[in-house]
């Protein structure tokens, strides 16, 4: 017997039964989970901001998408970063400053700054949900020191379950990688001291649009 069948057989032996019949399997496939969600009565946008900031993330709000490049430029100047960024193709249409060096490829080892569009914000924990693809390459989320994320307020949902519904509604199905990000990278592996910027970004800055 091949290992797969042997393991499944061993599982069934342990459960003292044979293969489940089709009726039972269809019932399991049709099962809809109904788990308790922690009560939340705060405005989702306000909660998202509060939670994200509590995890050492930063947030600024702009009126519309057109204001994003100027906000990123101001952020870059504040941190004294060169005028270069890895920008997700989902933000290609924005009017980036002409003197900027911008690319939409994967982030390279020396990448300092990236700008990505978020698929959703999750108010429950103040988390960003990023969907991998040319519009938002995964390396942009992890390689640069500074990660700027553009999030439209309309994309902020209350719970994780609502974010999964957003994923399920995508015509192209599940992204290769879905990254839920709650602030900058951190570690507490040396004497329980929390240190930001372990392997991923040292800073995560959200530009909230609308």
């Amino acid at each position: 017997m091949n290992p797969r069948d042997a393991i499944l057989q061993s599982v069934r032996t342990a459960l003292k039964r044979g293969e489940l019949d089709e009726t039972r399997r269809s019932a399991l496939d049709a099962r809809v989970p109904q788990h308790t969600r922690p009560a939340q009565d705060e405005d989702p946008v306000a909660r998202f901001v509060r939670k994200f900031e509590s995890r050492a993330g930063t947030v600024e709000r702009v009126a519309d998408r057109a204001a994003v490049p100027a906000a990123v430029d101001a952020y870059r100047r504040r941190l004294d970063l060169p005028a270069r960024a890895a920008v997700g193709a989902g933000l290609k249409d924005l009017a980036w400053p002409a003197d900027w060096q911008i690319h939409h490829d994967r982030a390279g080892i020396e990448e300092l700054l990236s700008v990505s569009p978020a698929l959703a914000g999750i108010a429950e924990t103040g988390s960003l949900m990023m969907a991998a693809g040319p519009d938002s390459p995964t390396t942009h989320n992890f390689v640069p020191d500074d990660h700027v994320v553009v999030l439209e307020t309309a994309r902020i949902v209350e719970y994780f379950e609502d974010a999964w519904a957003v994923l399920r509604a995508r015509p192209q199905g599940m992204p290769r990688a879905t990254n839920i990000i709650s602030g900058p990278s951190r570690t507490a592996d040396v004497e329980q001291t929390i240190q930001l910027g372990a392997h991923g970004p040292r800073r995560v800055h959200v530009i909230l649009v609308g």
């Binding site: 009560a39 990278s185 592996d189 040396v190």
Partner: protein, 468 residues
């Protein structure tokens, strides 16, 4: 790793006298326990979630074959591959084959306890590959050539000074002494490895049948760099980690971070579904999942099924007084603390891990914090019972128990013997304490035995009843 649980007693003695270890354990225990308590206090639904998580795990285990098959179908539909390994040897073989086929020279790893369980690193290194642990804690202990001492914080037994020494030796000077400098140095060294890696191996906190995804939960981002930058991503996971849907995974996610590190959420939750797509600019070209049984399907059969609910949060060890005193290495294998004291004998054998179920005071703190309500003290007692049945316990203990049973089942004789014992002990006492007790030297060497009051409980009780 080679199992050394047989040396538990010796290793525990060394641990108690290791000043650095005691310093490190003191800091860690307090932090984990306090942070978790704060999170639990802030979530009124916590107890409700625990109950639901227990029930959900039981539902999954009752239908494990179904969910595994559905999961496999979904992985394949997303362009990934699923491999099944009955034991550690098969799992190593599968992973080694993949690495050799793609001509891997550098293999990066996110934290994976299953990979420790199957001795993966040794096998890859033996075949000429460079294996780099990228979780900071795992990286530290890899430099120290030590196994992890905690499933969440593998280097929790190391002090900052010891990390400074290890880094100076591995990276050259000047010696860094502050945490930010140490973390920065590891960041710089490991960056290069991520970008050079041929294969990236991670664990899987959850496997989602609905979407064919593996989920990892981390704080550092090392797991993500590992799996995104390598050409090939391999996930290693136990068969019990499958969950039906993303909504089901959410129930566990709400409990995991709070129980493990005392956070509302970890920094990164990553859902991986298959390899790089046609229009992707990054991501691995191949995506493999190795489903490891290694004793789990057998555990499903009997009284230890509850153990398969474990989501590997580490709360049980953080709250264990024995773990807090001796640290993880004394346990001698991958999984320490209460959960390890159940798993190790079941995976490696009741005899080689004899001391582990016995190194427990049955105080029950582990069970009271377990997010999936595993009755750990009951399982440990059950293991002691099995050891007794299989005559693995020491002969003296067995004879003692037999003698005790002889008296305990004969009440009159028992009370008579008790009266004698109480009087003898009272006579031995000085100032209400017994300094040395024959046959119990090991106990009285370290502390005094309080002397009995002079009469037995029954005598006192009967005296009281005699009064009006």
């Amino acid at each position: 790793m080679e199992i050394r649980s047989k040396e538990f007693k010796e290793r525990a003695v060394f641990a108690i006298h290791d000043a650095s270890l005691q310093q490190a354990l003191g800091k860690a225990g307090y932090g984990f326990v306090g942070k978790r308590a704060l999170q639990v206090a802030e979530l009124p639904e916590f107890e409700q979630l625990r109950e639901e998580a227990k029930n959900l795990k039981d539902h999954i285990l009752d239908h494990l074959d179904h969910y595994l098959e559905r999961y496999e179908q979904a992985v394949v539909a997303a362009g990934g591959r699923v491999h099944w390994a009955r034991d550690a040897e098969e799992a190593r073989r599968i992973i080694l084959d993949i690495c050799q086929r793609v001509n891997a020279k550098t293999v990066t790893k996110g934290k994976s306890m299953v990979s420790e369980e199957i001795d993966l690193n040794e096998a890859l290194i033996e075949h000429g590959m460079e294996v780099v642990e990228t979780d900071l804690g795992e990286y530290i202990i890899q430099l120290a050539h030590e196994p992890p001492s905690h499933i969440i914080a593998p280097a929790v037994h190391k002090t900052k000074d010891q990390v400074s020494d290890l880094f100076e030796k591995a990276h050259g000077g000047p010696r860094k002494t502050e945490v930010p400098e140490l973390v920065d140095e590891a960041r710089r060294v490991l960056r290069d490895k991520y970008f050079r890696a041929d294969v990236g191996i991670t664990g899987g906190n959850f496997l989602v049948a609905e979407t064919g995804s593996s989920v990892i939960v981390t704080n550092e981002g090392n797991g993500d760099l590992t799996q995104t930058l390598a050409r090939v991503h391999i996930v290693t996971s136990g068969i019990e980690r499958v969950v039906p849907t993303l909504d089901d995974a959410t129930l566990f996610l709400r409990l995991l971070a709070r129980s493990a590190t005392g956070q509302e959420t970890e920094t990164y939750t990553t859902i991986s579904t298959g390899p790089r797509r046609a229009d992707d600019v990054d991501g691995p070209e191949e995506y493999h999942v190795v489903l490891v049984d290694n004793g789990r399907s057998k555990m499903l059969a009997g009284r230890f099924r509850d153990m398969l609910r474990c989501i590997r949060c580490g709360a049980c060890m953080n709250h264990c007084p024995v773990y807090g005193a001796v640290g993880g290495h004394a346990y001698g294998w991958v999984y320490p603390g209460p959960m390890g004291s159940v798993l190790t004998p079941l995976i490696k054998g009741l005899d080689v891990a004899y001391d582990l179920p016995n190194a427990c005071t049955l105080n029950g703190r582990c069970q009271s914090v377990c997010p999936v309500k595993i009755p750990l003290p009951e399982l440990l007692r059950e293991l002691r019972h099995l050891q007794h049945q299989q005559q693995l316990s020491p002969a003296l203990q067995r004879r003692g128990l037999k003698a005790w049973r002889y008296f305990a089942t004969r009440p009159k004789l028992y009370h008579a013997a008790e009266q004698v014992a109480v009087r003898v002990l009272s006579a031995l006492a000085r100032n209400g304490r017994i300094r040395r007790l024959p046959l119990a030297g090991a106990w009285t060497d370290a502390r005094d035995l309080p002397a009995p009051a002079g009469r037995t409980f029954l005598e006192l009780w009967q005296g009281k009843r005699g009064q009006p």
